[in-house]
Symmetry: C2
Subunit: 183 residues, 2 copies
DNA sequence: GTCTATAGTGGGATAGAC
DNA sequence: GTCTATCCCACTATAGAC
């Protein structure tokens, strides 16, 4: 009955991965904080990569869901706003996990290239949809920029201190839409 | 008369750091590509960190210059656009270097925390100026988002393939201004 | 489930010959 | 300036006792 230890490990790892980066966090340090030895971790997770994947999974899932739903969604100004809002929500709901990807992309590619490539692919599907039928370079640039605006929610807590999520949501969504509206 | 070897090392290191990440690049690999042994690198650079700093220097300098100039610049719509344009130019002129910071922030913090903290500080000075006298949370969020729009220029070459720099400059500047104009 | 002990690898860095 | 040889260390991961 020790799903407890397993989640304790997961929680500590999440915190360290998201603050120090994946490569910069050693299993020794994780074990120490949980109050175990390094070896014991391997009873619960078969490798460092396994631990990473189990942490990263919910974000990937939410992400893929959006990318899939979007394909059968008529593109209108409102639906675009809705989709961007969902992106924001998924990111905020998995804030710490998302931070891992920002802290050490290179480390993630090295440790789990499949996950990374998956993420990139979903991102491109979304970008294509966001850009819309007018797939000029300019419009694809705007779609990318709009998405960066959404993604900046992750940096806010770091660079701006405590920010109310609802206010941030409103401001960033408006900003992203303003970017896409430029034609 | 071997400033040549020194720059050859620098060039190879820059390419590897910016594509694979700083931590993921070993001195062995750099040496191999240059056609030297690991030990020989140490004749030219006293450490891996030394090598990194010499590579990263021009970007930091350009950056700091902007942050300094800005402080004695009256804030108007035109001057804001000018400053954002300079930010974009510095980033494009040091594209590969800037990519290092995106590939592996955590690794950079670990290897050269002083540089990173410096960068963050300059960024905050700039953000404050960009946000302007109305320093509401919303306006600071917009300043951050606008800056992310500019920064997205770095991802463009990766995710969108070849993009004309002039067009990108125009599109992203307009987009960033649109974000700041939201009130 | 957790431990001690250790294998095995690869990294940054140094010594000293040439 | 470049080499060979080596040191030292930290890490992931495994073996096997309890």
């Amino acid at each position: 009955m020790d799903g407890d230890t397993r989640t304790a490990i997961r929680d500590v790892a999440l915190e360290l991965f998201s603050t120090k980066g994946f490569e910069q966090t050693s299993l020794r340090e994780i074990a120490e904080r949980v109050g175990l030895t390094k070896a014991s971790l391997y009873y619960h997770y078969s490798s460092k990569q396994d631990l990473l994947l189990s942490i990263v999974d919910p974000l990937i899932a939410g992400w893929r869901q959006i990318a899939e739903d979007v394909e059968e969604l008529a593109r209108s100004r409102e639906s675009v706003r809705l989709v961007l809002g969902r992106c924001l929500d998924v990111m905020l709901a998995n804030r710490a996990v998302a931070l891992i990807f920002m802290q050490d992309p290179a480390g993630l590619v090295a440790a789990a290239s499949a996950v990374w490539e998956d993420l990139v692919e979903q991102g491109q599907r979304l970008n294509t949809w966001l850009a819309g039928p007018d797939s000029s370079t300019a419009q694809r640039l705007r779609a990318m920029a709009a998405f960066e605006v959404i993604r900046s929610a992750l940096g806010a807590s770091i660079y701006l201190g405590e920010v109310d999520d609802d206010e941030m949501r409103a401001v960033l969504l408006d900003a992203a839409m303003a970017v896409l509206d430029q034609r």
